[in-house]
Symmetry: C2
Subunit: 201 residues, 2 copies
């Protein structure tokens, strides 16, 4: 690891933290330089444009996410256990074991949705990867016999993700002490339905 990529890593580490607090648009070159003890120009040289910095920051966030959530969860055995591991790990990710301001992708989702560009494009693929991973994990749980065979795994992934969004709002904006409990209840209902659909109309 040469010196350049070394400081670049340091910068992006801090950038991800700042962006998790102030958002991707609130991430500014000046404050980032101040937080890293660099000059604006010296820092800027590593990226070339603000948008490149945003994409690089998202990419750094993906690395952190993979390390904090996905990799550990994949150690759990296939099936329902792994689904649960993803859920539990995500809750940790969203509550400070990841970035200072929590998940960086959720605010970005609503910040960039009307803002065309490479940052938005990258975020979309990232989010799609996450949904695909969830769907795949659910499918394996079906194959393992944990979930019912006719489960709509894409819908399952969609709803799983939705639970995280709700938790994030309740936890960070509303500071609801019951946020985790609420999310867990919702999760358990989702799982119950994935095991056997309710017969009643």
């Amino acid at each position: 690891m040469t010196k350049g990529t070394d400081t670049r890593t340091t910068i992006l580490d801090e950038a991800a933290n700042l962006a998790s607090i102030n958002g991707l648009n609130g991430l500014t070159i000046g404050t980032l330089a101040a937080h890293t003890g660099m000059s604006k120009s010296g820092l800027f040289r590593h990226f070339g444009s603000k948008e490149d910095l945003q994409v690089a920051t998202l990419r750094a966030g993906v690395d952190r996410f993979t390390e904090t959530v996905i990799r550990p969860a994949l150690k759990a055995p296939r099936g329902q256990a792994r689904v649960r591991a993803l859920f539990d790990r995500w809750l940790e990710w969203g509550t400070g074991h990841g970035l200072a301001g929590g998940c960086i992708f959720i605010p970005a989702s609503f910040e960039l949705d009307d803002q065309p560009g490479t940052a938005r494009d990258y975020l979309v693929t990232t989010q799609q990867d996450w949904l695909d991973l969830l769907a795949t994990t659910a499918r394996k749980a079906v194959e393992a016999g944990d979930f019912r065979p006719d489960l709509d795994t894409a819908q399952f992934a969609y709803e799983f993700n939705t639970i995280l969004l709700g938790f994030n709002q309740a936890y960070r904006l509303m500071r609801d002490p019951k946020a985790a409990e609420r999310a867990l209840l919702q999760y358990e209902r989702l799982i119950k339905d994935a095991i056997h659909a309710d017969q009643l109309a």
Copy 2:
């Protein structure tokens, strides 16, 4: 209605639209002035500070929301019908029948959650009002016999809101053509559970 409050209304109307697109922090006095054909200073005089403008914009959003979602939904008869009316109306609200960039409160939720101030405070009370309204509506549905007596109405409100968050992300960021369908499926499962809890473990 005097001239001053008249233009103020015009300004806030446009402010809500711009904020729904660019976020509350992305809402800038300069661009707002350009969009309303006013001078920055002439516009600024109406508020006195950026934060005041943000709060006033949120307040204008609440008015629009009440008019678009709540008021029409309250015309539906108490019980499950009214719950459904709130859901349907919200989907319209989130897909353009309200503000240009969709719901203004959702992006604000994730933008302001780490940003102390009067704007954040106001948003929290607004969101709490919404959750309370949902819970109350659910409780009336219980009283009407539409929902089961032991329903946790606060949890119901929480999950109802969560569905909206998920829909917003799927619709606006992912541009998922199935977003509405997915949200509806999730909604129907929530209702089914509200009617009679699944017996199975």
